[in-house]
């Protein structure tokens, strides 16, 4: 019983890590055209780094977000002389967000999240079956 209950802890840690990843994807996609920010620099794409971490009493590995890193790729230079942020050549530094990569990330996140929901549901069914031992 205790092992099966720990499945909930493991899966929920993974689900919370994946939703944090989905948050960064949403943030990156929302800011795909944010040429400036509070620091005056174009927005930098953010990525989460996952880390396996023991959860519960058994020491099996759940997931947590170890850190959120900023993508170090150079900004995307766009020619737009009318933009007040343009330099003397008429180029504007745009965020280094790769929309294709973010979309792929989003699908992958969604699938992983679903996997963990399925895991949790299976554990729930097993626990409920366990409670019926000896009832008939």
């Amino acid at each position: 019983m205790a092992s099966l209950q720990n499945v909930f802890n493991i899966s929920s840690s993974a689900m919370s890590a994946q939703s944090q990843r989905l948050n960064t994807v949403a943030s990156n996609l929302a800011n795909v055209d944010s040429a400036t920010s509070s620091s005056g620099q174009p927005y930098k794409a953010k990525q989460v780094v996952f880390e396996a971490t023991p959860v519960g009493t058994s020491g099996h590995q759940g997931v947590k977000v170890n850190k959120v890193i900023e993508d170090q790729l150079p900004p995307r230079m766009v020619h737009d002389p009318a933009n007040p942020l343009a330099d003397k050549d008429g180029m504007v530094a745009m965020p280094n967000v790769n929309a294709t990569q973010e979309m792929v990330n989003m699908i992958s996140t969604s699938r992983s999240y679903q996997n963990n929901v399925e895991t949790m549901n299976a554990a729930k069914t097993m626990l409920q079956r366990t409670l019926t031992i000896g009832q008939n």
Partner: protein, 146 residues
């Protein structure tokens, strides 16, 4: 171990090992995107055998039922290493052989893990069915009207 315990021992132990394996597989699925995580699993047959032997040994030693209700080896000296409760421990965890590597060093193969997970869940339910049948048999044998 009395006869009733001995009767239920096999299925109860199998259920416990199955539940522990389910947890290990859930951890693999949870860490499908974690860099450098290596998928783990147990050799079910070997683990079950070990757990059953541990049960028999602890019953034979008449090891006292410890305060938390688990059967464990008696430690009569301060430097004795406490024995396990016949469950799966770190030493039983094996690494799954790598079929196809990935750049981030993660060795979880989603299909393999999910198949193992479902397979394990079905075996668990089958075990419960067996256990229920045994309980039914015993109830029939013990009931006064038959």
């Amino acid at each position: 171990m009395d006869k009733l315990d001995a009767l239920f021992d096999f299925n109860a132990t199998a259920l416990r090992v199955r539940a522990q394996r389910q947890e290990i597989l859930a951890a693999n699925i949870a860490n499908a995107d974690t860099p450098n995580y290596k998928a783990r699993d147990i050799d079910f047959a070997a683990s079950l055998k070990k757990a059953l032997e541990a049960n028999v040994a602890s019953a034979a030693n008449n090891a006292a039922v410890s305060s938390n209700g688990n059967m464990s080896l008696a430690t009569t000296h301060g430097k004795h290493i406490p024995g396990g409760t016949g469950g799966v421990n770190e030493a039983d965890l094996l690494y799954r052989p790598l079929i196809q590597g990935s750049v981030d060093g993660n060795s979880v193969d989603g299909e393999v893990e999910r198949t193992a997970f479902v397979d394990n869940a079905i075996h668990y339910e089958a075990n419960i069915t067996m256990l229920n049948a045994q309980i039914k048999d015993m109830t029939a044998a013990l009931s006064p009207t038959s």
